[in-house]
């Protein structure tokens, strides 16, 4: 399979291929421009006649379940990432595949973590052909060095749902690790030793995959309720000793930052929101899981308390800080995509105002609306931003692929998108002439908050007007860039090989940008 297909310049000025891993793809046409016609993907019709009437779909082992599912060369195998760095199942799948001599699989996770680094050996020996999802840490470096056989495909959480729903990715076997399940395949994330809150990232997999295997270490008698994953979609159920490591399921990023510089960033961001009139009774917000974002949530809580106001809803990833806001009546609802700590899990289990969501409800761009675009403000991170407000979240300035997109792209549709970023990290300026990889078009990014000044997208004249007398250090993005370069020096232009190692999909399935092999 050729890695260097014909390139054309897309609507954001990046040279992208028209074919990826042998399949045609559509270059990015502009925000809201690509509207495919036709029907959604339809999975095969099942018949109850082929399933046990007593509902018992238990199979003795994952290996047998995979064999019964018809595991063979070239298949697409999906997993979810609700267990984050504590996932014990994804690697096992490929251990089994390798032991069976199966080749050229496509791994289609909703995200990858460091615990998946052992998969590099299967990328090397040909068990896995390429990854569509995210390539974090070691997998990212492996990909960037051009060692993956196929081209990686990076999608947002909403883009993953869209790709499955639209039939761009046909999942042959979905393996859904579940903290709690019954023999029929009903499953949830709130109970059991590996409780992770919810299983929303596996929803599309259950609905659209050809074969669905639920794997659990907490098999409960029918019915397993709540059933975010419905057994009526499930082919086989496997009981194992352990699906995940609880301490690693709870992500390490949920502590509030102690860094004074980051706290300052958080404070400035909260002040900006206050001055811009975003914080008002009944507003809605989403802040990410990083330490800075968490602190912003805390400042929001303080402001709401001081003003005697409350938010109508907050979008998770939830954590104890957001749960506290819910319990203190500072927010009416948490609409949650993933829970980052045990307090989040507990709250989702016990509080009916802490509601599980999925990429379908929150993010899917090919639906009849989604929650992300209804948010008043979203606070996100970025590795780089350019003078046109385009931003990067997947590669670092040295060109290496290190992160996935997550829900980042989907969240850009909020009414106000703010990226609090340091002006430079060590010596690396964050604001560049051009970002290494475009993950989000600048027209959707409204405000860049740095510790040395705040830049507002010139398209947002309303915001500029609102904060003009606020005393906040409002600067142009060019001024911020010049300030960083005065301190750090002007960075050399990054050199890359021609070879494309991954593509970045936009929320509508078109190709926004590519990641090149790093220069050796």
């Amino acid at each position: 399979m050729s890695k260097s297909a014909k390139l054309i310049i897309n609507a954001i000025g990046r040279a992208v291929p028209t074919e990826v891993n042998g399949k045609p793809v559509i270059p990015f046409k502009g925000v809201g421009k690509h509207k495919p016609e036709g029907k959604k993907f339809g999975p095969r019709i099942s018949s109850c006649a082929d399933f046990p009437e007593d509902g018992n779909k238990l199979i003795p082992s994952l290996k047998e379940a995979l064999v019964k599912s018809g595991l063979k060369d070239g298949m697409t195998i999906s997993t979810h990432h609700h267990f984050r760095n504590g996932d014990l199942i994804a690697v096992q799948i490929f251990d089994i595949a390798a032991s069976l001599g199966v080749k050229n699989l496509i791994w289609f996770p909703s995200a990858s973590f460091e615990c998946h680094a052992p998969l590099t050996k299967y990328l090397e020996d040909g068990t896995i052909h390429h990854i569509e999802g995210s390539m974090n840490g070691q997998l990212g470096r492996f990909t960037s060095e051009g060692k993956m056989k196929g081209v990686g495909v990076l999608r947002s959480h909403g883009g993953r749902y869209q790709a499955i729903q639209d039939g761009e990715v046909e999942i042959d076997i979905a393996v859904i690790a579940a903290p709690s399940a019954d023999f029929f395949g009903n499953a949830n994330g709130v109970d059991g030793p590996a409780a992770c809150g919810l299983l929303g990232f596996a929803l599309a997999d259950s609905q659209y995959a050809d074969k669905v295997i639920v794997v659990t270490d907490n098999l409960v008698p029918f019915p397993c309720v709540p059933w975010q994953i419905q057994g009526n979609y499930v082919d086989y159920v496997v009981k194992v000793d352990q699906v995940g490591i609880p301490s690693k399921i709870v992500s390490g990023t949920t502590e509030v930052t102690k860094s004074p510089d980051r706290l300052l960033l958080a404070e400035m961001t909260a002040k900006f929101c206050e001055q811009a009139g975003i914080i008002k009774d009944g507003f809605s917000f989403q802040a990410g899981a990083g330490g800075t974002s968490l602190s912003i949530g805390i400042y929001f809580a303080e402001l709401l308390k001081a003003k005697g106001m409350k938010a109508r809803f907050a979008r998770g990833g939830s954590n104890k800080y957001l749960v506290n806001m819910l319990n203190e009546g500072l927010v009416d609802y948490i609409l949650d995509g993933q829970t980052f700590d045990l307090e989040g899990v507990k709250s989702m289990r016990e509080n009916s105002h802490h509601v599980n969501t999925s990429p379908f409800t929150s993010y899917n761009y090919h639906g009849k609306g989604n929650f992300a675009s209804m948010l008043d403000v979203v606070i996100l991170g970025a590795t780089e931003v350019d003078v046109n407000f385009n931003a990067n979240v997947v590669t670092h300035s040295d060109g290496v692929l290190l992160h996935g997109i997550g829900g980042w792209q989907n969240c850009l549709f909020a009414k106000c998108t703010i990226l609090p970023v340091p002006l430079f990290r060590d010596r690396i300026p964050v604001i560049r002439d051009e970002v290494t990889t475009i993950c989000g078009p600048g027209e959707l990014i409204d405000v860049i908050v740095t510790e040395r000044g705040i830049a507002i997208n010139p398209l947002r004249k309303d915001l500029i007007e609102k904060v003009k007398d606020s005393g906040l250090p409002i600067k142009t993005i060019q001024e911020l860039k010049a300030e960083a370069e005065k301190i750090c020096g002007i960075p050399a232009k990054q050199k890359f090989e021609k070879e494309i190692v991954a593509v970045v999909k936009w929320v509508d399935g078109t190709v926004l940008d590519v990641v090149h092999k790093i220069s050796s």
Binding site: P260, L264, R427, I428, R452, A492
Partner: protein, 410 residues
């Protein structure tokens, strides 16, 4: 025989924005430079060019140099290389980074010194963003915050930071080492626009004269004359007993600070939260300073996690008459500013007094009164100070008098 190998800088697991340079002089083979850097793809070439320029400047033609860089800014790399080089070559030359215009200001004797943020003199990562937290002053510390074997290289780093780092309006202070060693530190800071020199463990007016003599000698030699203020730190029983003599030892003494960690050790007592053991010393310093017409500055508060206790401490400090405190963490700055600043009640009272004074002056009255109370000149002066402070700290509009009148009409 002189050593031919040397090193400088830090490369610990947690060190950032720093580099470690090892250097070996050679007799042939030219410059052999190896660079390991996390920013190599962006700045590798410029780092190599900078190092070669420095070597050329010092006339070094043959050397083996290895740099382990963790995103050090150019002024840091230059300081590290010069420090290493000067361990193996003898030279009077100095490789100075360009002086920022922002680094050339002089400061007013009377400016506020509520907060002064301590920055360890050999830790670049803590210096770089110090200004964004808006302390009244930063202290580049050559004394207690620098390990004995790092004292020398810290001088180059502090010198370069004074020139090349923008502290965003904070007064630039350096704490030199205890005398007599501290006198040698002055060569590295006096020519580079330091605003205030902190003289630690000060016990006599004589020590202040020694520092001033050395400063004068350096300034005469370089033919520069910028004002350099002094802030002695009293940290012993003897120092406390000599507080007034120290406070008025010279015209350029702008403040006296007290250092309670060393003071309580000298007294042989524990430092406690209520601070009864240091009440005398603190009152002595306050009185000495007020008598000499300069600012008394309180000790640092060392529990950086406890903002409530810090607030209590600040209020107590203000009540004793102190006009500032040291900070050892940027998060302390706002709490200290907020609580040294005049509160709403104080501002309100000051407004009334000044208004009454204005009215009386307008009417040509010799005596000012507020209600049934007579107002003396010092009361007016204090009210004016409170108002000036409130305005300068953004707690009161500059046009408060106009607002005050319209408020009255309502």
């Amino acid at each position: 025989m002189a050593a031919t190998t040397a090193f400088a800088g830090n490369k610990g697991e947690k060190d950032r924005s720093d580099c470690f340079i090892s250097l070996e002089l050679a007799t042939s083979g030219g410059i052999n430079l190896s660079l390991k850097s996390k920013v190599k793809s962006l700045y590798g070439e410029s780092i190599v060019a900078l190092c070669k320029d420095i070597l050329k400047f010092f006339g070094v033609e043959h050397a083996i140099i290895s740099i382990e860089d963790k995103g050090a800014l150019p002024f840091v790399i230059a300081a590290r290389l010069e420090a290493a080089l000067k361990k193996v070559i003898r030279t009077e030359k100095e490789y100075l980074p360009a002086m920022l215009t922002e680094s050339q200001n002089t400061t007013e004797k009377e400016r506020h010194r509520f907060t002064r943020l301590y920055l360890p003199g050999n830790t670049p990562s803590l210096m770089i963003n110090a200004g964004i937290h808006k302390p009244n002053a930063v202290i580049l510390d050559l004394e207690d915050a620098v390990a004995v074997d790092k004292k020398n290289e810290a001088r180059f780093l502090v010198r370069n930071a004074l020139r090349a780092l923008d502290f965003m309006g904070a007064e630039r202070m350096v704490r030199i080492n205890q005398l007599p060693a501290g006198l040698n530190d002055l060569d590295y800071i006096i020519p580079h626009h330091v605003n205030v020199v902190l003289v630690p463990k000060c016990e006599s007016a004589h020590q202040i004269h020694e520092v001033n003599n050395q400063i004068l000698a350096i300034q005469t030699r370089l033919n520069v004359k910028t004002s350099v203020w002094l802030m002695p730190i009293i940290e012993s029983a003897l120092g406390v007993m000599h507080a007034f003599e120290i406070a008025k030892a010279a015209n350029n003494v702008v403040a006296v600070a007290i250092g309670l960690e060393d003071y309580t050790v000298d007294l042989g007592v524990q430092r406690t939260a209520p601070g009864t053991e240091s009440l005398f010393a603190r009152s002595m310093v306050v009185n000495a300073c007020k008598a000499a017409g300069i600012q008394p500055i309180d000790s640092v508060f060392s529990d950086v996690g406890d903002m409530d206790a810090l607030k209590e401490n600040v209020l107590q400090s203000k009540a004793l008459g102190f006009e500032g405190m040291g900070c050892i963490h940027p998060r302390q700055i706002n709490v200290i500013h907020e609580n040294f600043a005049p509160n709403a009640e104080e501002i309100d009272k000051a407004k009334k007094i000044l208004h009454a004074f204005d009215e009386a002056t307008k009417k040509g009255l010799g005596v000012v009164s507020l209600g049934t109370k007579m107002i003396d000149a010092p009361v007016v002066k204090r009210a004016q100070r409170t108002i000036d402070l409130a305005v300068s700290m953004g707690k009161l509009s500059k046009k408060w008098k106009e607002d005050y009148k319209s408020e009255e009409q309502i």
